[in-house]
């Protein structure tokens, strides 16, 4: 399986990259690690005549502490760099853990967080995780910057909210509130995950003050499940409330037909893993 012929462009700045993508239109796409794109092109699932390589664009790579406890990850930062970043490990060790299970060591060494998000493969971990922590995605075009909440970034199968010529430039994780627990669960049957669940719980006093439950890899896009039933829960009643919340999440998700698993079974796994993730997040928050 070989690649079809294409031209490679190597802009040095976001502006140049953005202009190239706009001018070349549908025949072009952004390219960075290529671990999803090149594979898709080899498999004949997609083809482009122009690849706009972002690896030489200034300022897209690296993890930095932002103001107010923000954690800023450049879109062209590799998974491995995210996983091993001291800042990520300090503020969001669960993210480091989640990333460490993505694909394999080679894909993590080459593939980027931004590339993963922009390719928007349904079977994926980072997007739903970022939705659970309330991350924001910084996008740029023609010098204009906008920030899209993670929850609004994915818009369909292999589709994002990026406008033509617009680049994802950074992922920003908010300052983590005190007493916030995070848990990410995944199950895979073949190479890519079949189910992922991320839960974030913030506790104030002895009760749940904030809760997010995101179900990924099951449907075309991650599902932000309804976690309102958990608000106000305490240790005494967290169990049954989380079971009910997990059940509702399973009912609400729309499983894609999958060669390996039926929708019923995938929904069942959602109830199991959602429950586990919620319990673990709560225990971590309450501790």
């Amino acid at each position: 399986m070989k690649l079809p012929p294409f031209r490679l462009h190597r802009p040095g700045s976001v502006e140049e990259a953005s202009r190239l993508l706009t001018d070349l239109g549908d025949d072009a796409t952004a390219y960075c690690g290529g671990t999803e794109l090149l594979l898709a092109m080899k498999l004949g699932l997609t083809t482009y005549e122009h690849l706009v390589d972002l690896k030489r664009v200034d300022g897209l790579r690296g993890v930095a502490d932002g103001s107010g406890g923000l954690l800023r990850i450049g879109a062209a930062t590799t998974h491995h760099e995210v996983e091993t970043s001291a800042a990520v490990r300090a503020r969001y060790p669960e993210m480091s853990m989640m990333i460490s299970h993505v694909a394999n060591v080679r894909v993590r060494s080459v593939g980027t967080l931004g590339g993963n998000l922009c390719f928007a493969d349904p079977h994926s971990d980072p997007a739903s995780f970022l939705m659970a922590v309330g991350a924001t995605l910084e996008c740029q075009r023609d010098g204009e910057v906008r920030r899209i909440p993670a929850a609004g970034f994915l818009t369909g199968l292999y589709e994002t909210a990026l406008a033509p010529g617009e680049l994802l430039t950074a992922v920003e994780l908010p300052a983590r509130p005190d007493r916030t627990g995070l848990s990410h669960r995944r199950m895979k049957l073949t190479e890519r995950p079949a189910v992922t669940v991320t839960a974030q719980i913030t506790v104030r006093g002895n009760a749940v003050a904030e809760a997010r439950l995101i179900v990924g890899s099951v449907g075309i896009m991650p599902l932000a499940a309804d976690a309102t039933a958990l608000l106000g829960a305490t240790a005494a009643d967290f169990g049954p409330r989380s079971a009910s919340c997990a059940g509702q999440a399973a009912a609400d998700c729309a499983p894609l037909p999958d060669g390996e698993a039926s929708p019923d079974y995938l929904r069942h796994l959602v109830t199991v893993y959602a429950r586990e993730a919620l319990e673990e997040a709560f225990a971590a928050a309450a501790a």
Binding site: K2, L189, T190, E191, G259, Y265
Partner: protein
């Protein structure tokens, strides 16, 4: 016998660790072209036209082959049934069947040109699975019965019936009576998946015609059988077809018999230049796979646990072409009774054509298909009779010397000893955990439930026992072994050198086994069916003995001592008094100058009869394992905690390599048991044809504890009492896992034991 029995280091290890071992895909010939195949996109159709005009103009294209280039040949091959045309001839029978081949100056150019070949099809109704192929008005995959092939060893093939191209059956004793007398009858219907062997090196072949002679470099396991088929196809005498086999990156049966060689030879003939065809994984997946199977089985037993009767019928899906299907079918039929004593037994197995990719050999075929079924029924009998599952096996297992099948080789292994050893390694005991009926406190409960299982089976091993070997000793005492076993990774080059070194008492470092080149290497039937140590190794032993005889002859003269008073020492012959002459000195003395060579010849052939399947096997390979496994009843996920396998090998020429075989077979067994399965669309197309969607066992799938017990009872027909190994664990491990899962409360009738299948069964049984 010094090197023999030692875990001598692998002869090819350092080469492979340096990335310097040459595989077929590493070879570049001057002027070599690259082949790309146009695969049929339909499952069953007549080809109404093929136009290659546009493709021929594509950049870099040198030649394109279609059926019309084969009109001077009888283009059908197949060692069991000659049903396979070199390239689709008038008809395609499976999605993926080669319809044309392009040879071009680069792989990219060849790949690109394929898209410009235009094929028109008139589609035919498709029989893409067993049910469709066996239905009353099923479309026929082959309208005409194929001629028998030259080397199946199955005797006269029975007439085909519809899409059933071969059947194997036998009946002994009064089966109805046995079932009528039974206190317990267990019955069931079972399903076994299509599995892809996945050797990491895919099928690779280079063909080069020079002046009417053909040389093939190929990743093939049986170069002499390939030579025979190719010579027959192209009308050449055998000595004008040369097959050279570099190192193979795995085989496991997927590279047995003839695969890509005819197609490569045909395109090279047309191109007038060497051509290489190198499959991608998705192409190798539709080149060969394991037979999927349906099976019905019944077991009858008396109240005291004595087995009375077994009745089984199995249908093997051989895909669109038979390949080794008949032999797989016969072996499956023979595996149905298991290694037990029965009052009556009947078994029938059918080889069925379907419009899917062809099935062929994969490690432990037949046994892997049937062992888990018979063994799960035996465990169920034990449960119903409240008997210990080891005890019921002790009572009914055949003992050494007993007849396994009439006219065939009697049992040559201590199966009871083997299964007891395996069970002990996973903590089997007389405790309430393992004995039925279980005490209430021993019944598995909770989310994670554990169980233990054992399994015993036999595999007819050795194939056709025909093998020659040459051992050559040079005037410096160095030794070259020429024997046709191909190095797939199993360690042939190491073990054959050890055998020769052992007989001669040469240091192993001075003995080298060279790769197979049919022009220079003597004939060996095949590498597979665990036969190499036993059959080819025996030929090597005899050849080395013949060299030793010559050395002793010369030593007798030089030392003026009768041969009976001479003995071997390392690298030399010595007398009782301590005088000795080195091998090199003996060779030079024999020829009177600093040159010459001793050549020893060893021959193995059937001792009586023809070496046919029915008369064999050469030996019975033991398939014994025990497993402790855990199931998460909430998700159906199974974790294999502990495994133990038994390699009952008579004599372990290289104990470390024996254990390595079991370890590899074990992980393949875990894959076959838990998740490996090819999925087919309604038109027979393979849906999961890359490793993105077909899961291969990885580090994470290793059991926490894996033990291999080597049993050496000296009861093999091979050199030093050896018999082969390498396949038994693959048959036994899935069976032991199924039994462990049933012990945990979840009996299953279908493989693989995917989490969803297991979970659904748990729902059915309402046990969570």
């Amino acid at each position: 016998m010094n090197a023999v029995g030692q875990s001598v280091e692998r002869a090819d290890g350092r080469l492979k660790l340096a990335g310097q071992a040459e595989y077929t895909g590493d070879i570049r010939l001057p002027g070599m072209l690259y082949g790309a195949i146009l695969h049929s996109q339909v499952g069953h159709a007549r080809i109404t036209s093929i136009s290659t005009a546009a493709a021929e103009k594509a950049e870099g294209v040198v030649a394109i082959l279609t059926a019309e280039d084969l009109s001077d040949l009888d283009p059908y091959y197949g060692h069991a049934l000659r049903d396979r045309p070199i390239v689709a001839l008038g008809k395609v029978r499976f999605t993926g069947e080669p319809v044309a081949v392009v040879a071009a100056e680069s792989q990219a150019a060849a790949d690109a040109a394929v898209a410009y070949i235009d094929v028109e099809y008139e589609e035919l109704p498709v029989a893409a699975c067993l049910d469709q192929a066996l239905a009353e008005d099923a479309p026929l995959v082959h309208e005409q019965v194929a001629r028998p092939g030259a080397s199946h060893g199955l005797g006269d093939l029975p007439d085909a019936e519809g899409n059933i191209c071969y059947s194997y059956s036998f009946r002994r004793g009064d089966v109805d009576g046995a079932f009528a007398d039974a206190a317990v009858v267990v019955e069931g219907e079972y399903a076994f998946p299509a599995v892809y062997q996945y050797s990491m090196e895919t099928h690779t072949t280079i063909a080069h015609w020079r002046g009417g002679e053909l040389t093939l470099w190929s990743s093939c396991q049986h170069p002499f059988l390939v030579r025979q088929e190719i010579a027959g196809l192209f009308g050449l005498p055998l000595d004008l077809v040369q097959v050279i086999v570099p190192f193979l990156g795995g085989g496991f049966g997927s590279k047995s018999y003839t695969k890509m060689e005819p197609l490569t030879a045909a395109i090279a003939r047309k191109a007038g230049r060497p051509v290489r065809i190198l499959n991608s994984v998705n192409e190798s997946m539709i080149t060969t796979r394991r037979h999927n199977m349906k099976c019905r089985m019944r077991t009858a037993a008396a109240a005291d646990g004595t087995l009375l009767g077994r009745s089984a019928e199995a249908w093997m899906d051989t895909g669109a072409y038979a390949d080794n299907g008949p032999r797989v079918t016969a072996t499956a039929g023979d595996a149905a009774p298991g290694p037990y004593r029965w009052r009556a037994v009947e078994s029938a197995a059918h080889c069925v054509y379907t419009n899917t990719s062809p099935s062929g050999s994969y490690r432990a075929f037949g046994a892997t298909h049937l062992q888990w079924i018979g063994e799960s029924q035996l465990d169920e009998v034990a449960r119903r009779l409240s008997m210990d599952r080891l005890e019921i096996r002790r009572r009914n297992l055949l003992r050494p010397g007993e007849e396994v099948r009439p006219g065939g080789k009697p049992l040559d292994a201590d199966l009871i000893g083997d299964v007891e050893k395996a069970a002990a390694e996973v903590g089997w005991s007389d405790s309430s955990a393992d004995v039925y009926p279980r005490a209430p406190e021993a019944v598995p409960r909770g989310r994670y439930r554990r169980g233990r299982g054992v399994s015993v089976g036999l595999l007819a091993a050795g194939a056709q026992p025909v093998s020659m070997a040459t051992v050559r000793m040079g005037p410096d005492g160095s030794v070259t072994v020429l024997v046709g076993t191909t190095e797939l990774g199993q360690g042939a080059r190491t073990v054959m050198a050890q055998i020769a070194a052992g007989v001669l008492n040469s240091p192993v470092s001075k003995v080298v086994m060279r790769g197979t080149d049919t022009r220079y290497t003597p004939y060996d039937r095949s590498t597979g069916a665990s036969r190499s140590t036993t059959v080819a190794g025996l030929a090597v032993q005899r050849a080395a003995q013949s060299v030793l005889d010559a050395l002793l002859e010369t030593a007798t003269v030089k030392l003026e001592t009768p041969p009976g008073l001479l003995r071997t020492a390392e690298g030399r012959i010595e007398d009782q008094g301590g005088r000795s002459i080195t091998h090199g000195e003996l060779v030079r003395a024999r020829f009177g100058f600093d040159g010459g060579e001793l050549i020893g010849h060893g021959r193995v052939q059937p001792e009586g009869g023809s070496g046919s399947y029915a008369e064999g096997p050469v030996f019975w390979e033991v398939c014994v394992a025990a497993v402790e496994a855990e199931v998460d009843v909430e998700t159906g996920v199974i974790t294999v905690l502990r495994t133990s396998t038994v390699a009952d090998v008579g004599k372990a020429i290289n104990p470390q390599l024996v254990a390595r075989q079991d370890e590899g077979a074990l992980l393949q067994g875990i894959g076959n048991a838990l998740f490996e399965e090819m999925h087919f669309a309604p038109d027979g197309m393979v849906l999961n044809d890359t490793l993105l969607d077909y899961r291969i066992p990885a580090f994470e799938d290793m059991p926490a504890s894996m033990t291999c017990t080597i049993v050496e009872n000296g009861d093999g027909p091979g050199p030093f009492g050896a018999k082969g190994c390498g396949e038994g664990a693959l048959a036994a491990v899935p069976a032991a896992i199924v039994n462990a899962l049933a012990d945990a409360g979840v009996p299953m009738n279908a493989l693989p034991l995917t989490p969803e299948r297991v979970w659904r069964r748990i729902q059915e049984l309402k046990i969570s």
